[in-house]
Structure formats: structure tokens, C-alpha cells
Symmetry: C2
Subunit: 160 residues, 2 copies
DNA sequence: AACATATTGTTGACATATCAACAATCTGTA
DNA sequence: TACAGATTGTTGATATGTCAACAATATGTT
């Protein structure tokens, strides 16, 4: 049985966990509202933003790695962006399996409209927090992410 | 045009934003792996956990408020949990529109199996961080969530 | 060359999420 | 009572995400 003090600490940590998930959710939702002005989802914006300034484009597998999502997910994402003419798929010289997803001129222009606004909002998010605050927050978040990944890796040993 | 120093600060803040979203994602994914051992999704667990110790149950609209999701989402969530016998829907005396979603005995027993393990993992997440760290993290996250909500509220004024 | 193995992108099944629209029902007020 | 307006849960369309399985293609080894 835990001492009262220990369970109070556990409760504080649990509240912090919920706050972390809730904050990320609030930010993601705010970005969804923001990008809706251009009929984009946050994920679609992320794709366009990754392709910015990469004339040769990026393969779908590499995109899935950077977006931390499954390859199969990128298929539909690229499909919808291609249908709107914001990206195109180009064949890869030495590999007939792969495409490179490339930003079209139209996609680049859309990005150019969005980015200044986007960066202004991303900056406004930090109102009231100093750069030192930001640094300390980042390093704690890194520690948490490491812990989470370690815990996830440990799990398969006990599953069922 | 921004000074180099200002843009370096902006970059630090942007990195912190990506780290925040990435950390939340890592935690969510770890929890997905964890709950998969019981064939539950994180959202399904959240429903069960909200219902724990509430004999009268909770209406779907109230559930959607606490889960911060749309009402229509709760329909399917409750459907699937009901199909597995983990929750049941009970009529509300004075209101023929509403149900109350209630944890069944079977659902309560499942929760009882999961919770100790879950809390142990949730606690392990904070390894390396003191309680003071946790507190400071929480208050920064609260400030960020407030900013995000403010920004989201401001947006409709400029959409399109 | 031949063969095992790995990789690429796609598909299908499903869960989760959004939103708009709907019928049924409740509530407050004229 | 009657009726306007709000609320409840559901449905359908769509996007995003997971996973497993697949054909096509590369790659490395014998």
C-alpha cells in the first residue's frame, strides 16, 4: 500500500500527463481550425512543408518516416494532394517501385501564403514564456519521450 | 525582416512545439501498444475509466464533453464496448432522448486488471523528473493550452 | 543465372475523428 | 395549449490512422 504522500505525488504526475496530452490536443485542434482556411488538414500541411525547398522530392517511405506514420497512410495523403494539384508524383530513375513526391508550383505558392501566418501563430503560442522556459520545457519533454519509447519497447514481453 | 537572434529564438520555440507534439504522440502510441494487450484502444480505455465508480453512469453527451470529442464519436465507441459487454446503456427516467452509459460487472473487472499496471507505467514515464519538475512542466503546459485556445478562438475572424 | 530476402507502394478491413443534418424529445414562454 | 428553440443520440460523408497482406521490383549470395 502506498503512503498518502506517495499517492499524492502519483496524482500530480498523472495530472501532468493528462495536461500534456490535453495541451498537445488543443494545439493540434487550433492548427486544424487554422489550416481549414485553406482547406488543408494539419497532416496535409505537414506533407507540403516537408517538401518545401526539396526540388527532387521525397519518396513516400521517407515521407512516412518523417511524419512518423505508416507508409499506407502516405498513399491517401499524397492522392488527395495530387488530385488538387499541390504535389505530383515523379518516377525514380533507378527504381521502378518508388515515386518521388514533389511540390508543384501551385503547392509552393499556397505554402508561401500560409507560412508567414503560420509562423506568427506558432510564435504567439509561447506568449508569457521566456526562452529559458522553452529550453527547460524541451529537455523535460525529451526525457518523457525517451521514457515513453522505452516503456513501449518493454511491453511486448508482457503482452498476453 | 527579423534579426538573426530573433529568428534563432523562433526556431527554438518551433523545435519545442514539434517536441511537444512528438512527445504526446510517443506517449499515446505507447499507451496504444499497452492497451492492445487487452484488445482495447486508448479511447476505449478512457471511456471505461471515466465510468469507473459512477454507478448511475454518464450520458453520451457528458462523455463527449469529458473526452473532448464530438457526440457522434461516442456513439460508435459505446456501440463497440456494449457489443463486448463492457458497458451497457440504461434509459434515463425523465428524458426519453438520453441514455446513461454504465460500466458492467465485466467492464469493471477488466478495469481492475488493467489499472495497477497502467498506473505503474504512467508513473514510470516520469523517471528522472522530480516533483518540482513536474509542477513547472504542468504550469507551462497550462499556459500553452490557454494560448492555443485563445489563438483558435481568434481565427474565425480571419478565415478566408 | 537463380534464388532467398528485403523494400515500395497499394489495397482492404477496421477504429477513430471531424462535420452537417436529422428525428425525437424536452423546455420555456406566449 | 401551442409553438419556437434547444438538446440528445444517430447517421452518412469524409479524412486520418492502424495493421496485414499483396504484387512488383531490387538486392545480395551462392
Amino acid at each position: 500500500m502506498k503512503s498518502p504522500l506517495e499517492s499524492a505525488a502519483a496524482r500530480r504526475r498523472y495530472d501532468a500527463l493528462l495536461q500534456l496530452l490535453g495541451t498537445a490536443d488543443a494545439i493540434w485542434n487550433a492548427s486544424r481550425v487554422f489550416f481549414a482556411a485553406w482547406d488543408l488538414s494539419p497532416s496535409q500541411f505537414n506533407v507540403l512543408n516537408l517538401l518545401r525547398g526539396v526540388p527532387g522530392g521525397i519518396s513516400q517511405t521517407e515521407l512516412s518516416r518523417r511524419l512518423i506514420t505508416h507508409r499506407s497512410n502516405v498513399t491517401g495523403l499524397a492522392d488527395r494532394l495530387e488530385r488538387r494539384g499541390l504535389v505530383s508524383r515523379q518516377d525514380v530513375a533507378g527504381d521502378r517501385r518508388a515515386y518521388r513526391v514533389v511540390l508543384t508550383r501551385s503547392g509552393a505558392e499556397l505554402l508561401k501564403q500560409i507560412l508567414p501566418e503560420y509562423h506568427a501563430r506558432a510564435d504567439a503560442l509561447w506568449r508569457g514564456l521566456s526562452l529559458n522556459h522553452v529550453s527547460r520545457l524541451t529537455s523535460k519533454l525529451q526525457a518523457l519521450a525517451r521514457n515513453a519509447e522505452r516503456i513501449a519497447m518493454e511491453l511486448p514481453e508482457r503482452v498476453k
